[in-house]
C-alpha cells in the first residue's frame, strides 16, 4: 500500500513531498495552524539519488513541518553528512538549523542512514548519527532522525517514531490497525465482521487491550502484537468493556455488568481471575483511566444525574467530581505528566475535545468539529488525537494541547475511528 502526505497552504514547503509521493492514496495528513514560534530549518535531499534517500528526507520534512514547531525550508540541494554546509547561503535562506545526510545500501541489503544537524549561526554540528536500517524500516529511520532533531532543538521528546492504533470500518469489516504516527505503514493485527472498540496500548507497547463484539457481546481481549496471541481477559455474563492499563502493565481497570449496571472492576491483564470491584454505585460507572502515577482512577459516572468525570483512589473508595462546565463530560484521559485531563464535552448538543489543568483551572474546548470522540494523548503530552466526522465520513484528527495546530488523518476508503496513541518506543 502506498500513501500520500500533503499539507495545507500554511506550510507550503511540505508540498514538495507531494511531487515524489506515489499515487493510490489511502491515508493523508492535512495540517492547519502554526505554532507560537517556528524555528526555520533547512533539510537537504540526502545523498545518493536513490528513492530510499529521498523518502527519508521527505519523512523528516513532513514530521518536523507538521509539528508546528518548525518552518521547513527545502534548499533544493543534495548534501551528505560529510560535506561542509554552505553557511552563507543557508543564512541568506533564513535557516537557523540545517540537516544533511545520506543513505547507502550495504552488502547485506540493509542501509546505512546517516545525518548531521548543524547550528547555522554558530556554524557548528549539534548532533549526528548512523542508523543501520533494514529496507522495511527506512521510513522509521526518517522518523527517528526527526525525533532526534526535534529533541535537540526543542528540548522535548518527539513522537514521530511512535505508533497509533485505530479501528477502520470498511465494506462490513472491522479492522484493528497499527500505523506509524502519520498513518503510514498500516498493519492489521485483527480483522472481524463484528465491531471492535476501545483499543488501549500496554505501557510497554507490546500488547493491546480492546473490546471485540465477535461473540455477539462485548468481551475484553489482550492481544500480543508480535505473536498474534490473544486472551479474553474479561468475558463475564453481561457486558465487558472500557479496558485501561495500570501503569505497571499488570492490571486492567474494566467496566463489567455483573450486578446489572456498568461498574468498574480491576482484573489481571495476564490471567483469568476474580474481578475486584472498585465502584459500588447505583448509577453507570465506566471509562476508567489511571492517573500517571497509578494512584487514582478517573472515570465517567452519571451518579449525580448527568455523566461527569470523577476521581477515586485506585483501590476504590470515595469519588470526587472533576468536571463541572457542561451537563455531559465523558471519556477522561490523563496526560503523561499527570497534570492535565482531556475529555469530551457536550455543548449545545455538539461534542468537543476539552482540556483541564488538574491543579485547578478552566475547562478549555480545543476543537470545533462538533462530533468528536475518543481523545488520546501523544506520549510527550503535546498532542491529543481524536475521532471526528466530516464529509459524511469518520476520520482522525490531532490537536496540539494549546489548540493552535490541527492535523487531519483521513482515509480515501472507509471510516477511521477509536485512535489510541502508543507509548514511546523502547
Amino acid at each position: 500500500m502506498r500513501y500520500l502526505i500533503t499539507t495545507l497552504a500554511t506550510l507550503p514547503i511540505l508540498m514538495m513531498g507531494l511531487l515524489s509521493a506515489p499515487c493510490a492514496a489511502q491515508m493523508r495528513i492535512d495540517v492547519s495552524g502554526v505554532g507560537a514560534t517556528q524555528l526555520p530549518i533547512s533539510i537537504a535531499d540526502f545523498a545518493t539519488d536513490s528513492r530510499a534517500a529521498q523518502e527519508i528526507a521527505n519523512v523528516i520534512r513532513s514530521d518536523l513541518g507538521s509539528s508546528g514547531a518548525f518552518r521547513v525550508i527545502d534548499p533544493q540541494l543534495t548534501v551528505s553528512e560529510s560535506a561542509t554546509p554552505d553557511y552563507t547561503s543557508l543564512r541568506n535562506s533564513g535557516a537557523d538549523a540545517f540537516v544533511g545526510g545520506s543513505a547507502s545500501k550495504l552488502g547485506d541489503g540493509r542501509y546505512d542512514v546517516r545525518y548531521r544537524l548543524y547550528d547555522v549561526a554558530r556554524q557548528s554540528t549539534l548532533t549526528g548519527e548512523s542508523l543501520i536500517t533494514p529496507e522495511a524500516d527506512l521510513r522509521l529511520a526518517g522518523h527517528r532522525i526527526a525525533d532526534a532533531i526535534y529533541q535537540k532543538l526543542t528540548g522535548e521528546r518527539g513522537v514521530f517514531s511512535t505508533r497509533i492504533a485505530f479501528i477502520t470500518r470498511q465494506a462490513g469489516r472491522f479492522r484493528l490497525n497499527i500505523a506509524d504516527w502519520d498513518g503510514e505503514n498500516i498493519q492489521s493485527p485483527l480483522n472481524s465482521p463484528e465491531p471492535i472498540i476501545s483499543p488501549s496500548w500496554s505501557p510497554d507497547g507490546t500488547r493491546l487491550a480492546y473490546v471485540s463484539f465477535e461473540a455477539k457481546k462485548p468481551v475484553v481481549y489482550v492481544h500480543t502484537l508480535a505473536t498474534g496471541q490473544r486472551m479474553a481477559v474479561a468475558n463475564f455474563k453481561g457486558s465487558n468493556s472500557a479496558p485501561a492499563w495500570s501503569p505497571d502493565g499488570r492490571s486492567l481497570a474494566v467496566a463489567l455488568t455483573l450486578d446489572g449496571m456498568s461498574q468498574i472492576y480491576l482484573i489481571s491483564a495476564t490471567e483469568a481471575g476474580t474481578p475486584r470491584r472498585l465502584t459500588s454505585s447505583s448509577a453507570i460507572d465506566t471509562e476508567p483511566a489511571f492517573s500517571a502515577d497509578g494512584k487514582f482512577i478517573y472515570f465517567t459516572s452519571d451518579r449525580g444525574g448527568s455523566p461527569q468525570i470523577y476521581r477515586m483512589p485506585a483501590a476504590g473508595g470515595d469519588a470526587t467530581r472533576q468536571t463541572f462546565g457542561a451537563p455531559y463530560n465523558v471519556s477522561p484521559r490523563i496526560s503523561p505528566d499527570g497534570r492535565q485531563l482531556a475529555f469530551i464535552t457536550r455543548r449545545e448538543g455538539r461534542y468537543y475535545v476539552a482540556i483541564k489543568d488538574l491543579a485547578g483551572g478552566n475547562e478549555t474546548v480545543l476543537t470545533d468539529g462538533g462530533q468528536e470522540e475518543s481523545p488520546s494523548f501523544a506520549p510527550n503530552g503535546r498532542w491529543i488525537m481524536y475521532a471526528t466526522r466530516s464529509g459524511g465520513r469518520e476520520n482522525l484528527m490531532a490537536v496540539s494541547v494549546d489548540g493552535r495546530i490541527k492535523q487531519r488523518l483521513s482515509s480515501s476508503r472507509g471510516d477511521i475511528r477509536e485512535p489510541a496513541w502508543g507509548p514511546f518506543a523502547k
Partner: protein, 188 residues
C-alpha cells in the same frame, strides 16, 4: 380443535406458573416454577380435557386423536413472540405499557421452556461516547431482563448485554434515533 385445546392448556399452565412467580417467590428457588412447567405434557390433564369417560353418547372404546404440532411458536410470524423489540423514550429506561403484552408472551414461553435461553441486547443512538453508550444500552437491556424475571423467567435463562451504538441505524433524524433506543430479545 385439538391443537387449540393443547394451546389453551399450555397457556393456562404458563399463566398459572407466572401467577405463582409474580408473588414473592424467591428467584433462586426454582422448585415451584419447575413443578408447573411440567403440566402441558401431563397425561392426566389431556385425558381430563378430552372428557371421553363422561360422554354417554360416545363409543365405549373412545379414541382421542392427538396431532403433534412441531411448529415452533418462535418462528410463527403471527405469534406474539414475533415481537422481539422494546423501544424506549429519549433518556428513559422505563418499559412503556404498550410492551407489557409482548413481555408477558415471552415470559410465558420462557417459563414453559426452561431449557430455552435468550440474550437481551440493548442499543443506543450514535451520539456521544461509545463506552458511555455501551453502559446506557446495558441499562435498557437490564430493564427488560428485570421485567422478564419479575414475570417468572429464571435468571439463568437470560443474559442482558449491550451493543451500545455499534449496531445503530445511521442517520440523525428522529426516526433513526428512536429506532436505536431499543432492546432486542434474541433466542439462543
Amino acid at each position: 380443535m385439538n391443537k387449540r385445546l393443547i394451546y389453551l392448556i399450555a397457556a393456562t399452565a404458563a399463566a398459572l406458573s407466572i401467577a405463582a412467580c409474580s408473588s414473592s417467590v424467591k428467584l433462586d428457588d426454582p422448585a415451584p416454577i419447575e413443578d408447573r412447567s411440567n403440566m402441558p405434557g401431563d397425561g392426566s390433564a389431556a385425558a381430563g380435557a378430552g372428557g371421553a369417560s363422561t360422554n354417554p353418547a360416545g363409543s365405549s372404546r373412545p379414541i382421542t386423536p392427538i396431532t403433534i404440532d412441531t411448529k415452533d411458536p418462535l418462528k410463527d410470524p403471527n405469534s406474539p413472540l414475533a415481537k422481539r423489540s422494546i423501544y424506549f423514550d429519549f433518556d428513559s429506561f422505563a418499559i412503556k405499557d404498550e410492551y407489557r403484552s409482548t413481555l408477558e408472551a415471552h415470559a410465558k414461553y420462557l417459563t414453559a421452556n426452561r431449557a430455552k435461553k435468550a440474550v437481551i441486547q440493548g442499543n443506543t443512538d450514535e451520539r456521544g461516547s461509545r463506552e458511555y453508550n455501551l453502559a446506557l444500552g446495558q441499562k435498557r437491556a437490564e430493564a427488560v431482563r428485570r421485567a422478564l424475571v419479575a414475570l417468572g423467567v429464571t435468571e439463568s435463562q437470560l443474559e442482558a448485554v449491550s451493543l451500545g451504538e455499534e449496531k445503530a441505524r445511521s442517520g440523525s433524524d428522529d426516526a433513526a434515533q428512536a429506532e436505536n433506543r431499543r432492546a432486542d430479545l434474541v433466542y439462543q
